[in-house]
Amino acid sequence: MTANASISVRSLSKWYGSWRALRDVSMDIEGGTCTVLCGPSGSGKSTLLRCLNGLEEWQEGDVVIGGVPVGYRAGELRRLRRDVGMVFQSFNLFPHLSVLDNVTLAPRIVRRRGRRESEQHAMQLLERVGVGQHAAKLPSALSGGQQQRVAIARALAMRPSILLFDEPTSALDPESVKEVLDVMIDLARSGTTMAVVTHEMGFARRVAGRVVFMDKGSIVETGEPDEFFDCPCTDRAKAFLGNIARN
C-alpha cells in the first residue's frame, strides 16, 4: 500500500435488519487529503466510517482502499487494518495497560517490531502529541484530552497510510478539544489521508479539502469547506448548519 492511500466508496448500501443505514453511498477521498463528514445524529456517518476499515459488514457496493478492494476474509481484514488507523469518540484505550504499552502493543505483535524499537517510536509519538511525560501511567490517570491524544499516538504507531476519526472531540471539554484538534491539524498538514466525522467547523475550514454532508443514510451534498459552510445548496444542509450554529 502506498504511503498515503486513496479511499473510494462505490454505491455502498447497508441494512441493520430491515433498517437501511446507508443508501447507495459513493465517495472518493484522494490520497493525502482530509475529508470531513458531518450530518445530523443517526445519518450514518459512523456506519460509513466503520465500513472503511471493515468493522461493519455491508450488503451492496464496494470499498476500495489504496487500489485494493476491502474483502471479507479475516486475514485480508487484518492486513487492511494494519494500514488504516482509527480513533474513537470514547478513546477506547486499554485500561489495564500503561500508556506506553497501549501504544506499543500492536506494533510489537502485528508488525513484529522489537521492544526497544517500538518503545522508542512510541515515545517519539507521545512527545509529538504532547503526553510524553505520562508514558508510565495508566490511562485512567489522564484527562480526556490526554487520553484522546494517546489514542491518536496508538493509531500512528502502526504507521498507517489512512486515519479515520469518529467524533474524536465530542466527549471533551473546550480546552481539550483544542489540544486534540491541534494534533489533528498537524497530521492533516503532514499529508496523511484522513476521514474525520466532526462538527468542528474551524477544523474543517482550516485543513479539510472537502466536506461531505450526510442525512438519512445518503450523501446529500459535498463541497469545499468554505463554500459548504457559507452557502450550502440544499435545504437540509441549511437547516443542519442553522442548528449547530445555534448551539
Binding site: 476499515n53 468493522l55 479475516a74 487484518r78 492486513r79 487492511l80 487494518r81 494494519r82 488504516v84 488507523g85 482509527m86 474513537f88 470514547s90 477506547n92 484505550l93 486499554f94 485500561p95 489495564h96 502493543l105 500492536a106 510489537r108 505483535i109 502485528v110 513484529r112 517490531r113 522489537g114 521492544r115 495508566l138 485512567s140 490517570a141 496508538r154 493509531a155 502502526m158
Partner: protein, 407 residues
C-alpha cells in the same frame, strides 16, 4: 466476596487521588458525625456478639458437665483403632485420632485442589467457547453448561460412581496400561516410589525445583510470545534444565509397580473409584459454573475494547488473551473465589460414596467412637473456615496483582 469488594473500592479511591494530592484537609462536620456513628455502631455489635458467645459457651460447658461427658482435646493422642481405605500418610489401627485427622485433612485437600485446578481449566475453556464467534461451538458449550449445572451435584456423584464401578472389569481382568498401571472396578493402580528412603527427600527437592524451573521457563516464554518477541534463551534453558532434573530424579527413585496378588494388586498407589468419581463429579459440576462466571466476565468488557483491538489489526486469539480476559478478570475473580469455597465445602459429599475425607473419618467415624461432638465439630468447622479464608485471601492478592483497574 466481601474482602475483594472492599479491595476494589480502595483501589478506585487510590486511583482517583491525583499525583500532587494536597495535604489532607480537616474533617468536615458530616465526616465527624459519620465517624462517631460508626464507632457507636461497632461498639454495639461487638457487645452483642460477646454476649451471645458467653451465653453459648457457658451453656455448653454446663450441659456437658451435667451429662457427665468428658471434654478436652486429649483424645487426639488416643489410638483410633481403624484403618483408612486411602491415605497419603501411613495409617494403621495403632494410629492416633490426631493422625487420622491429618490424613483426612490431606485427603480433603487433595480432592479439592485437583478439582479446583481441573474445574478452572475446563470452565475457562467452556466459558470462552460460550462467547466464540462460531455458532456450533457456542451451542455445544451452552448445552454442556445447561445440562451440567441443572442436575444436583449428588446426582453427578452417583452417576460417576455407577459409571466407574459398572463399566470397568474386575481385578483379575484389569486393563493394563503399559504393564505399569492397571484399571479395574476397584480403582486405578499406579506405580509409586518406595517411601521412607533418605533418597526420597533429595528426589522430592529435585522434582520440586525441576517443576519450578519448567513453570518459570514456560511463563517467560509465553510472556515474550504475548509481546511478540522471540522467546529469550533463559526461558528455554530453565525449561530444559527442569525437564532433565525431573527425569533424573524419577529415574533415581525405587519404583514399585503394582502386581496382582490374590484378589487385589499389591504395591504402588491405589486410587479408589470413589476418589476418581468424587474428583470427576466436583470438576464437571463446578466447571459449568466457572464457565458462566467467565462468560459474564468476558461480556462485561466494553464493546469498544474489542473494536479498538480489531482496528489495530490484532488477531482474535490475542485480543481475547491480551485485551479481553485481563479486563474480564476484574469481574471474574470475586465470584470465582466464591465458587472455590462452594467446591471445598461440597467435597464433604465424599461421605456419600465412602471416600475417607476429613468429614467422613473425623466428623463421622472418630466422633462416633469418641463421642467428643463439640471438640470435633469445632475443629472441623475451623478447618473449613480456614480453607475458605485462605481462598479469599489468595484470590484478593491475585486480584491486586493483575491490577483490577477502573475503566
Amino acid at each position: 466476596m466481601a474482602v475483594s469488594d472492599q479491595d476494589m473500592a480502595t483501589g478506585i479511591w487510590n486511583a482517583a487521588e491525583g499525583d500532587e494530592a494536597d495535604a489532607r484537609p480537616h474533617l468536615g462536620p458530616r465526616q465527624r458525625w459519620a465517624r462517631r456513628k460508626a464507632i457507636l455502631q461497632q461498639a454495639a455489635v461487638l457487645l452483642l456478639v460477646a454476649a451471645v458467645a458467653v451465653f453459648v459457651i457457658r451453656n455448653t460447658v454446663v450441659n456437658l458437665q451435667a451429662r457427665g461427658l468428658a471434654s478436652g482435646f486429649d483424645f487426639l493422642r488416643q489410638e483410633a483403632g481403624f484403618k483408612m481405605a486411602f491415605s497419603l500418610i501411613a495409617i494403621d489401627p495403632t494410629s492416633t485420632y490426631g493422625r487420622i485427622f491429618l490424613a483426612g485433612l490431606l485427603n480433603s485437600l487433595l480432592v479439592a485442589a485437583l478439582a479446583i485446578v481441573a474445574a478452572t481449566m475446563l470452565g475457562f475453556a467452556v466459558g470462552l467457547a460460550r462467547v466464540s464467534p462460531s455458532a456450533p461451538v457456542r451451542y455445544v458449550a451452552r448445552g454442556y453448561v445447561e445440562l451440567v449445572r441443572n442436575l444436583p451435584l449428588l446426582l453427578h456423584l452417583l452417576l460417576w460412581q455407577a459409571v466407574v464401578l459398572r463399566s470397568l472389569p474386575v481385578v483379575r481382568e484389569a486393563i493394563g496400561l503399559g504393564g505399569f498401571a492397571f484399571l479395574s472396578n476397584r480403582g486405578l493402580y499406579l506405580p509409586a516410589p518406595v517411601a521412607g528412603d533418605a533418597k526420597a527427600m533429595v528426589v522430592a527437592v529435585a522434582v520440586a525445583t525441576g517443576i519450578a524451573a519448567i513453570v518459570a521457563g514456560w511463563s517467560i516464554r509465553s510472556r515474550a510470545q504475548a509481546r511478540g518477541e522471540a522467546p529469550p534463551r533463559l526461558g528455554l534453558v530453565l525449561a530444559a534444565g527442569g525437564l532433565v532434573s525431573n527425569a533424573a530424579a524419577i529415574a533415581l527413585l525405587d519404583w514399585q509397580v503394582p502386581v496382582l496378588a490374590g484378589f487385589d494388586f499389591r504395591g504402588g498407589l491405589k486410587l479408589m473409584p470413589e476418589f476418581v468419581s468424587l474428583v470427576a463429579a466436583l470438576t464437571i459440576y463446578n466447571s459449568a459454573f466457572v464457565a458462566e462466571i467467565v462468560r459474564a466476565g468476558v461480556q462485561s468488557v466494553a464493546r469498544g475494547q474489542r473494536e479498538a483491538a480489531l482496528a489495530l489489526g490484532l488477531p482474535p486469539k490475542l485480543i481475547l488473551r491480551l485485551v479481553i480476559v485481563p479486563q474480564a478478570m476484574r469481574v471474574i475473580i470475586p465470584p470465582l473465589a466464591n465458587q472455590y469455597t462452594h467446591l471445598i465445602k461440597a467435597s464433604a459429599l465424599a461421605t456419600v460414596v465412602g471416600f475417607p475425607d476429613l468429614v467422613n473419618v473425623f466428623l463421622g467415624t472418630s466422633l462416633n467412637q469418641t463421642g467428643r461432638a463439640v471438640e470435633i465439630a469445632v475443629i472441623t468447622a475451623c478447618v473449613y473456615l480456614a480453607l475458605s479464608t485462605s481462598v479469599a485471601l489468595a484470590t484478593s492478592a491475585y486480584g491486586r496483582r493483575v491490577k483490577l483497574v477502573e475503566r
